[in-house]
Homo-oligomer: 375 residues x 2
């Protein structure tokens, strides 16, 4: 076996679709582009494709790096590559930026052909189901009738689950990591604070800030700072930062006193410098809306009856955003339907962000699951 | 025994102090007023006084109501009154608005006599220790040499603990409910997001918004919305709101969709309509700074060695802001010093806010503790 290594230099591709897409919200996208990357090779039977769905701040750039930006490494590079748990010598892996995104796929920052201006606030609301629909069209384009697996963490896991309900015949395995069947009131509450931070930023301009040459950076920074707290555990923040004081003592001002403040401000500024606020808003709404049990009187087992895939569900002990109990809800609902489901609850101190980290036990679970899959 | 009842109509009093108060921050308040209320009667031995310390958004108005505002009921009215756990037939209870506050005590909204303008950003940073110092001067004024008890929830509990360290001879019992010995990195992180929301509000004007005839309502609203999430448990939000939709279905807009959003916006607006943003900032900083173990290399037991009071420590199972583990840290440190300490961990679904609620078990614990006290 070779040493695990990177997929190396990759390049995003773009697919244009001019068949209108009617969205759950009632809106219609007359045409759109999806930006995606692929790693590995589609085999002759076209049965080794794995779709990786991204979460709130992710993108199509799952693995490898760019020739002109060697430090821009894919967000799940530790998982995807030759000899890695999702082994690109065996699988053909696809990452795609979702509709409404800000990494090349058509979104609020794109030009609306009907007006010649950026979509801005006019971009229609998108849902997890809409993303799956668009991903399915990309799969058609790539000649993939059935995925060996659809895989995602957090919001990405919701897409993987939705695949098994919207296209049960097109997905053999669903891998949902650090995910949940739907948000709780607390989850929605955090999203709502983040949204209000953006919506009430005077530079939001009702979502049409592009035309004013500004961005609602203050709001987006606050949203990201808040998000970060929920991605990490109390324990991991304690280990990393504790009560460390920047100056060794209280300075009695509103500058950085505790190192945790510096960290959050830095993360917030970095994010606000490149991410699109409208995409952030739309994505938190997609999170809020996702609820496969809604049309089944809240009965998740009834909702998941449509699925026919095999499932791997993974959670992390200190994840309080999507706690293990939420993953177990999925597991129980699947078992109720006598689906094949594997479940791993990984000991980790890192909270929700664990799904992005290179944890030995976690990666061993994914590795053995992918090794066992038939392609 | 009479039926528990209200202390009835109360009236705030004000005490002026013109002996300068040097603060931990190095700042000096040349003179100040403390607004306070009292319930019950100080006995001849002057040994039945109980000081109630308030938390972030509290005030001196602990119990009863005002003649001209019968609906303005004290924040701990369920606890304090004739026949209630803190029985005003037996105890002389004092509530005082802390320095830097916005309910009458000298704070950023007060006029700085040196300039003739509101203090605003010029108001010095205040700490838990400064509050205790000011409270001690009020006790002197009222002829109270030693408190039967100093009592508080959350940040109020920190003041009660600090009393036992700053004036061990002046407090017979400390009752700290839903409190913590100091904030964690996660606690500070939430405070920091709240502060950044206020500080970056364009209407904050560097803290001198009074002069501009505006208030940073957007920032204060965000801060309060976020705070509220941390005061309640995931469970209680789930029970109260779940995923209830205002319109029974997704509307695909940024208005209120889920009832939890409506609740948070309402709470945020209500708070922003009356609370002072500078007070909010100062109070979150006082929370961050409080750390009795700081001067003892982080050794809480060493820090608490100074105390000589008896202690009652109470926590609530679903409080994740100041979790039971934080209360246990206090208990262990006290036991290490062979102090008399009672500890109750109350089963509650209501999270941090439990300390304000009328829980039977919780109130029974407080009631029996106060009944047992010698006065």
């Amino acid at each position: 076996m070779i040493q695990p290594s990177s997929v190396g230099i990759v390049a995003p591709q773009s697919a244009h679709f001019d068949q209108p897409l009617t969205l759950r919200s009632g809106g219609v996208l007359p045409a759109y582009d999806l930006v995606y990357e692929t790693y590995g090779t589609l085999n002759a039977d076209r049965n080794n494709a794995v779709l990786v769905c991204h979460a709130l701040s992710g993108s199509h750039h799952v693995a490898g790096c760019y020739a002109d930006a060697p430090d821009n490494i894919g967000w799940w590079d530790n998982l995807v590559g030759p000899g890695k748990p999702l082994d690109t010598r065996r699988y053909f892996v696809i990452g795609v930026n979702n509709l409404g995104g800000c990494h090349g796929t058509t979104g609020p920052r794109s030009i609306n052909p009907a007006t010649g201006k950026r979509w801005g606030a006019g971009f229609p609301f998108v849902t997890v189901e809409d993303w799956v629909e668009a991903q399915a069209r990309l799969a058609d384009r790539l000649g993939i009738e059935r995925f060996a697996a659809v895989l995602g963490g957090s919001l990405g896991g919701m897409q993987a689950i939705s695949w098994s309900l919207q296209y049960p015949e097109r997905v053999a395995n669903v891998v949902a990591v650090a995910s949940a069947p739907m948000l709780t009131a607390q989850n929605i509450a955090f999203n709502e604070v983040a949204r209000q931070a953006i919506l009430t930023d005077p530079e939001f301009h009702g979502g049409n800030y592009y035309e004013h040459g500004v961005v609602p950076a203050r709001g987006l920074k606050l949203a990201r700072m808040l998000g970060h707290i929920t991605y990490l555990s109390d324990d991991s923040l304690g280990e990393k930062f504790g009560r460390s004081l920047r100056h060794g003592k209280a300075m009695y001002n509103y500058g950085v006193e505790f190192e945790i403040e510096s960290y959050l401000r830095y993360q917030g500024d970095k994010f606000a410098g490149h991410f699109d606020a409208n995409t952030y808003l739309l994505t938190t709404k997609a999170l809020d809306y996702f609820d496969p049990a809604f049309d089944h009187d809240g009965n998740l087992a009834a909702a998941l009856a449509k699925s026919s895939a095999d499932f791997l569900i993974v959670s992390f002990t200190t994840d309080w955003r999507f706690a293990p109990a939420r993953s177990r809800e999925i597991v129980y609902a699947l078992l109720h339907n006598r689906r094949k489901v594997s479940y791993a609850e990984i000991e980790s101190t890192a909270g929700h962000d664990s799904f992005l980290l290179d944890d030995t036990h976690y990666h061993a679970v994914l590795s053995s699951y992918f090794k066992r899959m038939k392609v």
